[in-house]
């Protein structure tokens, strides 16, 4: 036991006390922020603005203006020119024309039968998907409104008809939680993703560490002092602690930056986040909704989530770490390593693919089974925690995970013991299993 501690100490310190550890710990969140920032930026960039000239020969819409898109990516203007001159303008100038598209409501357009004559759109190049979709939705809205007016429906009644419905989700009866699912989903995804990345990154680290010991023949020197199993376990635990240290540092960084954001930017939040009211973009979240969502974050029970995250990360790490160590011990070159790593990474990747389905339907059967199978539970179970699954499911999953990692560690130790001192032999996956079960 004392020797395992010495090995853990070396594996841990030799990784944590390096410049690269410090750099990745600091740079990863910056990279993450940049990634999110870039996504947001690309979204705001969206489509470049499209100017659409409207010519209403029918006079049906003469008393109104078409609403522009909320982000001004599509907007309308009403030139005092004839259709023919506008048409020749766009035809001769192409993309250089002073507008991007010409929307014509021909004479004889009937509001009660809009498709008999139909609205026409002329563009120099192909109209973008966003513009087409916006025009279809907008015209649909406008025509419907006009139809109701023509039918002499009271204006208040029209407003009333157009009112959007907000559903108040009540999952835990007597304990109202508006918009709770969204927040729980976001947190679930985030946790699942962090575990996924961590398993792959630190699993690979274990594998490479073991391979280094083998190919540099360090293990020859060490195995006369320690048992191969101690060496393997020491490495897995040491690297696992490196991972936990990194999480801890990130948590501290997040708390510090949170504090900074609230202190410095919190005041501007109300004004800054306010989006202009829009006619059609239903997916725009307005400031009120954000306030409600932020309110829900306080309703999430973070302590059990954090506890489950720790437990399932550690459990999953031990389970997969042992397998990665076994592969590192078995291989002699990088080519072998890649082909043998695949069977271990596939269940991790399947888990992250299942995550979408699981979060979409947290009480469905996929979620249930994926949260129990030890190969997927490290990612699935903590992601389910914000949805507050029944306690027995959590405990069963935890117990199965413990059995799971005891099993893989047992198997891996046998593969490791055989592989670590075997050189020059090309190993197949089948052979590994033979070492594991018969060796």
């Amino acid at each position: 036991m004392k020797k395992i501690l010495i090995i853990i100490q070396r594996e841990y310190l030799s990784r944590v006390l390096t410049k690269s550890f410090l750099l990745t710990t600091l740079l990863a969140p910056i990279g993450f922020i940049l990634l999110v920032g870039a996504t947001v930026w690309v979204n705001t960039l969206g489509s470049s603005e499209k100017r659409i000239a409207v010519i209403d020969e029918s006079g049906v819409f003469k008393d109104m203006r078409f609403p522009d898109a909320s982000d001004k990516s599509v907007y309308f203007f009403y030139p005092n020119e004839s259709f023919d001159s506008l048409y020749s303008n766009i035809q001769t100038n192409g993309k250089e024309a002073k507008f991007d598209a010409l929307l014509r409501i021909p004479a004889g357009f009937e509001i009660m039968n809009p498709n008999r004559i139909g609205v026409q759109l002329f563009t120099a190049d192909r109209p973008g998907l966003f513009m087409k979709q916006y025009l279809t939705e907008m015209l649909g809205d406008v025509v419907r409104k006009k139809k109701l007016e023509t039918l002499d429906v009271d204006k208040a009644a029209i407003e009333n008809l157009n009112e959007k419905i907000t559903i108040n989700y009540t999952s835990d009866l007597g304990n109202e939680k508006v918009g709770f699912t969204e927040i729980a989903s976001v947190i679930g995804y985030l946790i699942g993703f962090v575990v996924y990345i961590a398993l792959l990154v630190f699993g690979t680290m274990i594998m490479k560490g073991v391979k280094e010991e083998k190919t540099n023949r360090i293990v020859e020197v060490l195995v006369s002092s320690v048992k191969p199993f101690q060496l393997m376990l020491g490495k897995i635990v040491g690297i696992g602690m490196v991972g936990l240290t990194q999480f801890l540092l990130w948590a501290i960084l997040i708390m510090l930056s949170n504090f900074f954001i609230v202190a410095v930017l919190g005041i501007t939040m109300d004004g800054g986040m306010m989006t202009p009211p829009s006619a059609s973009a239903a997916n725009n979240i307005d400031a009120d909704e954000i306030r409600i969502l932020i309110g829900h974050i306080s309703e999430i029970r973070f302590l059990p989530i954090f506890g489950a995250f720790l437990f399932f990360f550690i459990g999953g790490f031990l389970l997969y770490g042992a397998l990665f160590a076994a592969i590192g011990a078995a291989v002699n070159d990088d080519g072998d390593m890649q082909s043998l790593t695949l069977p271990v990474t596939i269940p991790i990747i399947i888990s992250i693919i299942l995550l979408t389905k699981v979060i979409g339907e947290p009480d469905g059967s996929v979620a249930f089974w994926a949260s129990l199978v030890p190969f997927s539970s490290p990612i699935i179970m903590p992601s389910l925690m914000p949805f507050e699954p029944p306690l027995w499911q959590i405990l069963l999953s935890a117990a199965l995970l413990i059995l799971g990692f005891l099993g893989t560690t047992w198997l891996a130790a046998r593969i490791y013991r055989t592989g670590i001192l075997m050189y020059g032999k090309k190993v197949t996956f089948k052979e590994l299993l033979k070492w594991g079960f018969k060796g």
């Binding site: 020797k3 010495i6 090995i7 070396r10 030799s14 280094e212 540099n216 023949r217 360090i218 020859e220 020197v221 060490l222 195995v223 006369s224 002092s225 320690v226 001192l421």
Partner: protein
């Protein structure tokens, strides 16, 4: 296979490549376990606790490249049961002895092969083992370092420690080992003290240096293996060295040198491996 190592002696384990030397050593160091048979350490069946009294330097050896010399030696020492402080003291002793105090903060990857061999040797003996197992200790060492290590091996012998020394380079065995075992294909084909073995396999060859002419009937008494102007190598199966010398003196030959030629370990080795192969 059966062999016995004594304290205060150097035991050479010889054999061609693939004979099973490393396998045998791995069994002694409890890396692998024998299918049958037993290994006794100081009269007791070998157990895990005995591993701390063994220092093993494998033939293929490596160190963590990114670690510093001192740090690495402390690590190896602690894995052998030393405390950090004990390890540090012993490292100081060896650093001084090998005059390499300036290396302590160098990374292993900065060392030359010879330098890292020295570090490796210190790592093997740091915990003052009672049994030292060296697998091809001189491979890759320059003559000066070889001599240094050889001297240390002799020092350990003088301190009463047992040394097991595996090699396929015979000339080293001759100079260093007290006892040898010759193994081939996992079998012990020859075992014993070097002195005794040489006597056992001697072919009664003598080298005589002389002045003047040799007696005429000389060739009837001895088989002449080679002869030059004033030197002859002869063999005589039935005579002792004294009897051979007496003959020359009685024949009034001026003998200025006389030596019994004992077989080298190399010759014994080759002969026995060939004999074993023929069987």
């Amino acid at each position: 296979m059966s062999m016995n190592l004594q304290g205060g002696s150097i035991f050479g384990l010889l054999g061609p490549n693939g004979a099973g030397k490393t396998t045998l050593i791995r069994m002694i160091t409890r890396i692998i376990f024998p299918d049958s048979g037993s290994i006794l350490f100081k009269g007791e069946p070998m157990e895990e606790r005995h591993v701390h009294q063994i220092g093993y330097m494998p033939e293929e050896r490596g160190l963590y490249k990114k670690m510093k010399v001192r740090e690495h030696l402390v690590y190896l020492g602690r894995l052998k049961g030393l405390s950090s402080r004990e390890a540090a003291e012993k490292i100081n002793f060896w650093f001084k002895k090998f005059d390499i105090e300036s290396w302590e903060n160098k990374k292993i990857e900065e060392l030359s092969k010879g330098m890292s061999q020295k570090v490796q040797f210190i790592g093997t003996v740091l915990h003052e083992p009672d049994l030292l197992i060296l697998d091809e200790p001189f491979s890759g060492l320059d003559p000066i370092n070889s001599m240094l290590i050889e001297q240390e091996i002799r020092n350990f012998k003088a301190q009463g420690k047992a040394i097991l020394f595996s090699t396929h380079r015979m000339e080293q065995v001759e100079g260093i080992c007290d006892t040898i075992a010759l193994i081939n294909k996992g079998e012990n084909i020859l075992c014993g003290e070097v002195k005794v073995l040489k006597q056992q396999f001697k072919e009664n060859k003598f080298e005589v240096g002389f002045e003047g002419a040799l007696p005429e009937h000389f060739q009837q008494h001895f088989k002449v293996l080679s002869q030059s102007e004033n030197r002859a190598v002869i063999s005589s199966e039935n005579n002792t060295s004294n009897e051979v010398l007496k003959y020359f003196i009685e024949q009034n030959v001026t003998v200025n040198s006389f030596k019994e030629l004992l077989p080298s370990i190399n010759e014994i080795f080759i002969k026995n491996v060939e004999k074993a192969a023929a069987l």
